[in-house]
Amino acid sequence: MVLDYVGVKEINGSLIVLDGVKGAFNEEIVEIRLDDGTTRQGRIVQMDGERIVVQVFESTRNISLVNTKTRLAGKPMEMPLSHEIIGRILNGSGKPIDGLGDIFPEKTANINGTPMNPVSRVYPKNYINTGISTIDTLITLIRGQKLPIFSGSGMKHNELAVQIVRQAKIADDNGEGFCVVFAAMGVKNDVADYFKRSFEEFGVMNKVVMLLNLANDPIIERILTPKCALTVAEYLAFELDMHVLVIMTDMTSYAEALREFSSSKGEIPGRKGYPGYLYSDLASLYERAGMIKGSKGSVTQIPILTMPNDDITHPVPDLTGYITEGQIVLDRALQGQGIYPPIAVLPSLSRLMKDGIGEGYTRSDHQALANQLFSSYAKVIDARSLASVIGAEELSPIDKKYLKFGTEFESRFINQKFTENRSIEQSLDLGWELLGYLPKGELDRVDDQILNKYYKPIEDQ
């Protein structure tokens, strides 16, 4: 016997309250039928005896106290999964919108996932060659890593993400399949379109699953989008043994959706109005990256987030940085100088890099070179700030060398063309070449053996 509950008791933002509901369980899905024949979905988020609070995914517009019939679905939010999902375009809550019909599920999975047992994880070690010097040399991306791009509005994060997708050798040598899961949350239509066109251009569209929740789509659906995307990714990686790259943009919109939902529930706000559980919530997404024993596949995440007012201490980038394994930070000043990709080297970091590079992975001098470049470039910044006070002419000869190194480093190492795909050897050699602008005594992060092999000073003209 299926019961319909007629009418609702309260409506508040995206929440409706029903009373006298029997037999419901926490997080259960409900179906709401309106008088005009349309249906919407919702999820139970709070219960007090027979009073339940339901979050409506597609907004509560047109719902009145009397015009609905609500039915319990008897199951939590699940996502239909099948290998046929590759190449499809879905909406934010996982329903196909490409007009190719429903997905015939081989299985369904709860979109919340379950936490991976830390014991069952495989520590990620295989590096992904992206063909971008800055990333490969200094912020190496590792398969199974979560490495966000911290950007700001108007910066070239989308181009960077597209370039990574195009150039990255995601599949491994023994030809395991790879695919891309793309989740758009609250982005503009042209951004989603740009990604779509780019995927089509390099002919990988049949390897992409797109979940689109655009800027004008309902907020609540946006909260589900990354969960659905990661459920797909986990299925492809751990059951179909594929290497999956997940791009999620824009995490800031996701967090804002969460804030809107939280405040409509009347929860006590934490920093900048975001709910106190923002950290746990973000972690429940980011932690779904990785590799597990007994499966050949992997989930690698590149979330993109725009820092409001370019502020890296804003709660969203801040909490993200504490969860993810490093970050790629973009810099507006570099972009202003026409440098692409405008990666701010110093605050960027890859935590998994140290075990995935060096002998047997990239080249034995990689770690030492990376340390030296970081350390020398930090001195460039010091020299520049000194120059802005006393003038470049007054600098000591060694500081002048740093200035020269800095300019060359930015215009030749960081800067590269959108279509340029550099091999790891090229990138490392270029790094050594640029260090030639500095005298040997300044290179204190490298031991003499490596230095003798690779270092060639460039004499002053």
């Binding site: 936490p115 920093r271 932690e287 990785g290 597990i292 804003h314």
Partner: protein
């Protein structure tokens, strides 16, 4: 009983029961059909509030809640070492085996410790012995280096009436029978339970006058910590908190390491598992895991268990301390724990204090840090628990509530600095903002073991760094070129100290752990060069002449060039310095 307690309301990890009188505060309960573990956190005459340590999806109003009659506790006994648990002491390896899946399902009922495994037990008491709480009655080799000493539960005492023979026993087998004053017979097994929120009792606290040697130069020389001390490692993301914690866990001279991954990354825990398994402890020649227990409650595991994980960790440490071991607990990170408090407090609709944290945050922090100390145990042995907590301040702003409140209860503050980390200066411990209050307590030990010289060197090193800091203010404004030579020398020496001494390479085989003796000799050599150079400058020899000798560069690399077992090489270095500078003098004046 027909009067069952059932769920009324559900909100995230918090469930409520209406008008029940059966529960007591902090009691452990089982919730619903799947028997999810929960804890009573609030009682009024109208409702009892319970926090559930697992995902609450699928729970229904009307599901039964069963009390256990005891507060949240952990099982203590052999099998803890070399194991990995979640926040409420469930063994993750066992769960993996039982569920056969890489994902943690809910309500997985597994005993914390292996109940099948037989331990080779040696009984150390005989019939008629009078035992009191904490006394050891049996021992078994838990791992190759840790002997597990089985103790009488703290509040029990009496006379031994029966002793079983030495042999193989599981943790639940009775090995000793004890008759208390009332004549009641207690069967003692190899294990006992202890509520995680209660500190285990001790006989007496001891002063903090023995250092915990970590082999990390900046810590051992400039900011030492004592055994039984407390330290905080605050730093924004990417500043190297976890790296510092790992280094300490690997190299510090505690007998037992409890590593609590509290709300941190899953991949990091798998790294710890892998690295510690491969790494050989130089003292014992055995893998590090033999003396390590890991508590892994990653950030996506339930938030309430994250709150408990810190207490679980320190209870395990206290248990081994009672056996007479020196234990160190690394908590990474206490901010995640504080956030778990905030999250649960928010669900309870409590009145928030600063930044949404509950008003009881400081008292909870102090309760935790006060469990650290060096003590005389009930059984007369000496042990210690050292607490090193990482703090992840929001936006790397040290004025936020968790950092500020932590600062009040710890005595060692290793402040990690973003700009040092950007320049890849690790450990990125800022020598200007960090401090240790243990200096004076430890002076006596250093004097006895390393001589007065060590303390003198340390004082000079830190005064040069102070001096440099002042000079850098000027340099920032007008450049280094205008400074007089003696000040340039300070800057040059400070550079050697920073790069050659404070900076330490965790991936270099000699540099990752440096014995105190080498630390002292390194300081001595640097200061020797500084003194001789000062002398030369006072004779009007320009500093450029001195630096062109390459001695400063040579000293910055001595950490790599001198292996830890070739400390005699320092004499050669000193000789070389003297010779090079003497020849400069003769060249100048002849």
């Amino acid at each position: 009983m027909d009067n069952k307690d059932v769920i009324f309301g559900i909100n995230g990890p918090v469930v409520t029961v209406k008008a029940s009188k059966t529960f007591s505060m902090m009691e452990m309960v089982y919730v619903g059909k799947q028997k999810l573990v929960g804890e009573v956190i609030k009682i009024t005459d109208k409702a009892t509030t319970i926090q559930v340590y697992e995902e609450t999806t699928g729970l229904k109003p009307g599901d039964e809640i069963v009390g256990t009659g005891a507060p949240m506790n952990v099982l203590l006994g052999p099998g803890i070492m070399d194991n990995i648990f979640d926040g409420i002491e469930r063994p993750l390896k066992e769960i993996e085996k039982i569920t056969g899946s890489a994902f943690i399902s809910r309500g997985a009922a597994v005993s914390s410790l292996d109940t099948e495994k037989r331990w080779n037990v040696t009984l150390t008491v005989k019939k008629g012995d009078k035992l009191k709480g904490g006394d050891i009655y049996a021992a078994t080799q838990e791992t190759a280096i840790i002997e597990h000493r089985v103790m009488v539960p703290p509040y029990l005492s009496g006379e031994v009436v029966k002793v079983y023979p030495n042999g193989m026993y599981t943790i639940n087998d009775t090995v000793v029978e004890l008759k208390d004053k009332q004549g009641k017979i207690h069967k003692l097994t190899l294990c006992q339970k202890w509520p995680i929120r209660n500190p285990r009792p001790i006989a007496q606290k001891k002063p903090a006058d023995i250092p915990l040697i970590t082999g990390q130069r900046v810590i051992d020389t400039l900011f030492p910590i004592s055994k039984g001390g407390t330290a905080a490692v605050p730093g924004g993301f990417g500043a190297g908190k976890t790296m510092t914690q790992h280094q300490l866990a690997k190299w510090c001279d505690a007998d037992i390491i409890v590593y609590v991954g509290c709300g941190e990354r899953g991949n990091e825990m798998s790294q710890v598992l892998q690295e510690f398994g491969e790494l050989i402890d130089p003292k014992s020649g055995r893998p590090m895991t033999d003396r390590t227990v890991l508590i892994a409650n990653t950030s996506n595991m339930p938030v309430a268990a994250r709150e408990a994980s810190i207490y679980t960790g320190i209870t395990l440490a206290e248990y081994y301390r009672d056996m007479g071991y020196h234990c160190a607990i690394m908590a990474d990170s206490t901010s995640r724990w504080a956030e778990a408090l905030r999250e649960i407090s928010g669900r309870l609709e409590e009145m928030p204090a600063e930044e949404g944290f509950p008003a009881y945050l400081p008292s909870r922090l102090s309760e935790f840090y006060e469990r650290a100390s060096r003590v005389i145990n009930l059984n007369g042995s000496e042990g210690s628990v050292t607490v090193i907590g990482a703090v992840s301040p929001q936006g790397a702003d040290f004025s936020e509530p968790v950092t500020q409140n932590t600062k009040r209860f710890i005595r060692c503050f290793w402040a990690l600095d973003k700009s040092l980390a950007y320049a890849r200066h690790y450990p990125a411990i800022n020598w200007m903002t960090s401090y240790s209050e243990y200096f004076t307590d430890l002076d006596k030990w250093f004097e006895e073991n390393q001589g007065r010289e060590f303390i003198n060197c340390r004082a000079k090193i830190s005064s040069i760094l102070q001096e440099e800091n002042k000079l850098m203010e000027i340099v920032k404004l007008i450049g280094a070129d205008v400074l007089p030579d003696d000040q340039k020398l300070i800057i040059e020496t400070a550079r050697v100290i920073r790069v050659g001494f404070l900076q330490q390479n965790a991936f270099h085989k000699d540099d990752t752990f440096v014995p105190l003796e080498k630390q002292k000799l390194m300081m001595k050599t640097i200061l020797h060069l500084h003194e001789v150079a000062t002398d030369l400058i006072s004779r009007n020899i320009p500093i450029s002449r001195i630096t062109s000798l390459g001695l400063f560069d040579k000293l910055t690399k001595m950490k790599y060039d001198i292996p830890n077992d070739r400390l005699d090489m320092f004499t050669e270095y000193e000789k070389e310095i003297d010779e090079a500078l003497n020849s400069t003098i003769s060249a100048e004046f002849n």
